[in-house]
């Protein structure tokens, strides 16, 4: 057993950290103020290869795998959970095409996605539910037209990250009126009847776009059906359970790190009754809990991603990592804010942002309750 990162992984971490601190850090205040995604970061992120981290080399990506992606999301999330969230979903949108796309689809779609020339997302959740896909109402009707065969999609998706930014969206729709009969489609910007809808106003993760996706008689050619008819649930769930959950674990790790550093740094400097805060046992216990949560979440998340990179089954481990890291991020944000006392709630310190951002680690890619359902299946019986 070896808990050391390789020399190359250390280089990746330094590269990600410098990018996060030098390029992302100066934009956080503006993202907080406007709630807008910083589009001017797309190009430098693309040049750094961030969109194609897990895309195979033959399709224009770096083929680096999930551990490298986790390093990236952790480092970006340490500076901006909002940007890390946007980035993880851009990558999530690519994953179903990598896993289930035909060679033609991969050749056509992956290179521009890996280069960041086009951006991606996954659109599954509807107003009727996210954890319960059987409530999905978006329908796909097969149709022959003079221009070719395809499907006409009608429906609305909600709470879709990058809804207004993504050029390529993997959409789940019902091809039959049966509870688990779904098909996945690749919907592209420019297709008639496909447009983003309302933009959500969130409390946290400001600067990460969330909104509606509207499909009104949107004709999607057969060439853009992802996998076979009826296999959509498998397609979406694989991407969400692997890329989505490890992605959320990565963003959570970033938040955990930020909380430990902010609270630890403050407790070392702030003096109360002539002693720094970190000399008081009450504060030491909080710092100890923060460090323990950070380290436990780190080990779970890297184990899950390592398993994925080894080609081993990892669904329960991904769920464990996502469950623990996201809950730990919320605990850490609360604890860090407490260590800072009144300052913890003021805008001049980042802990108030961590509090607002951490809560969204739970519903994305499966709530904690859904994670526990997945994890329980791996328990001895």
């Amino acid at each position: 057993m070896d808990f050391q990162f390789t020399q190359e992984q250390e280089m990746l971490r330094r590269a990600a950290r410098e990018f996060a601190e030098n390029e992302v850090g100066p934009r956080v205040a503006q993202m907080e103020k406007t709630g807008q995604f910083p589009m001017d970061l797309v190009r430098p992120m693309a040049e750094a290869g961030f969109f194609g981290v897990t895309v195979p080399v033959e399709y224009g990506g770096l083929g680096l795998g999930y551990v490298a992606r986790l390093i990236l999301l952790e480092e970006v999330g340490r500076v901006s959970a909002a940007l890390a969230m946007a980035l993880q979903v851009f990558q999530l949108g690519i994953e179903p095409i990598v896993s289930f796309g035909t060679d033609e689809q991969k050749r056509r779609l992956l290179p521009p996605l890996a280069r960041g020339e086009r951006l991606a997302t996954v659109a599954v959740t509807e107003a009727g539910g996210g954890s319960d896909p059987s409530s999905t109402k978006t329908a796909a009707r097969f149709e022959r037209r003079p221009e070719g065969e395809g499907y006409v999609l009608d429906g609305r998706k909600v709470f879709i990250t990058n809804a207004h930014l993504a050029d390529v969206q993997v959409v789940l729709a019902k091809t039959k009126d049966e509870p688990k009969e779904f098909t996945a489609f690749i919907v592209e910007r420019g297709m008639a009847g496909f447009k983003p809808g309302r933009e959500e106003h969130k409390v946290g993760l400001l600067g990460c776009d969330t909104g509606e996706v509207i499909l009104e008689g949107c004709f999607v050619p057969v060439a853009n059906r992802l996998g076979n008819e009826g296999e959509g649930l498998k397609t979406a769930l694989k991407a969400i359970s692997e890329a989505g959950r490890s992605g959320m674990a990565g963003v959570s790790l970033g938040l955990l790190r930020a909380c430990v550093e902010t609270a630890g740094g403050y407790a070392a400097k702030r003096e109360v009754s002539g002693r720094p805060l970190n000399r008081y046992q009450g504060i030491q216990w909080k710092l100890a809990d923060l460090v323990t949560d950070r380290d436990a979440a780190t080990l779970l998340a890297y184990r899950a991603c390592w398993l994925k990179d080894q080609g081993k089954r990892c669904d329960a481990e991904m769920a464990t990592a996502k469950y623990f890291a996201s809950e730990a991020a919320i605990r850490a944000a609360k604890t860090a804010a407490e260590v800072l006392g009144g300052y913890g709630y003021m805008e001049e310190f980042a802990t108030q942002r961590y509090l607002r951002d951490a809560q969204l680690m739970i519903p994305s890619a499966g709530t904690s309750d859904v994670m526990r359902m997945v994890i329980a299946r791996s328990a001895p019986s």
């Binding site: 330094r14 590269a15 410098e18 750094a48």
Partner: protein, 274 residues
Amino acid sequence: MDPVTVVVLVKPVPDPRKSRGSVVINPEKKTVRRQGVPLALNLADRYALEAALALKGRGVTKVVAVAMGPPEAAGTVRETLALGADEAYLLSDRLLAGSDALATARALAAACRRAGAGLIAMGAESSDAGTGLVGPLLAALLGLPHVPHCRGVSVSQEGEAPGVMAEARVDGRAVKVKAGLPALLTFDRLDRPPKPAGFAGVVAARSKPFAIWSAAELGLTEEEVGPAGSPTVVREVRPAAVTRRAVIFEGDPDTVAARVLAVLAEKGVLGDGR
């Protein structure tokens, strides 16, 4: 202009982000401890590397990074490949331990010759030792013109002889200095952060040449480098005492502002106002 190889000299130094402000001084040798501490590329060297990379395709065919340090600095030196250098070499040998600025310059001179340097770029000083001597000594040993305080460089267009036009800052003023090749340029630390390496750069670094050079490979002898080749010794190291003086000006805002400006100008902190 004939194709030019730029050698960028980089120094692995204790990582200022990870040292938490506590640099450990070896009590006997009076030098900064570098073993077992996280290392990073010296910041001023990063600007030298950036300037060298900006010349690629404009008269410069190859950028070679060269460092001197312990074997564990290999990972740090390889980062130059991720940042865009074409080749990287680490000069590492027990004979070199304890080299002062002159002995270091001798070793680096041999490395620059070996790498076929047509132009040498490096940071003006390192963040750990900070003597600022290695650059000028190296230029003297190699018989090269030295342009200090560089911030950028372009290929000189005038005349037949190959040359570079360095943008430097002398006494607070921006100047352009033309130098024939080969030449040595030393770069200051800049206010902006250096450009980070991308993941794509890290992947590209896999296939670029990297090797460790021994002293013998470069023809260096025990007399030239290490303690025997070092005419200087550090006698004492003590923390610099930083003192602050608070002055309160009173009066109407215009008068106070004028007095504050006069004091700042007298202290030389306003630069040339450009």
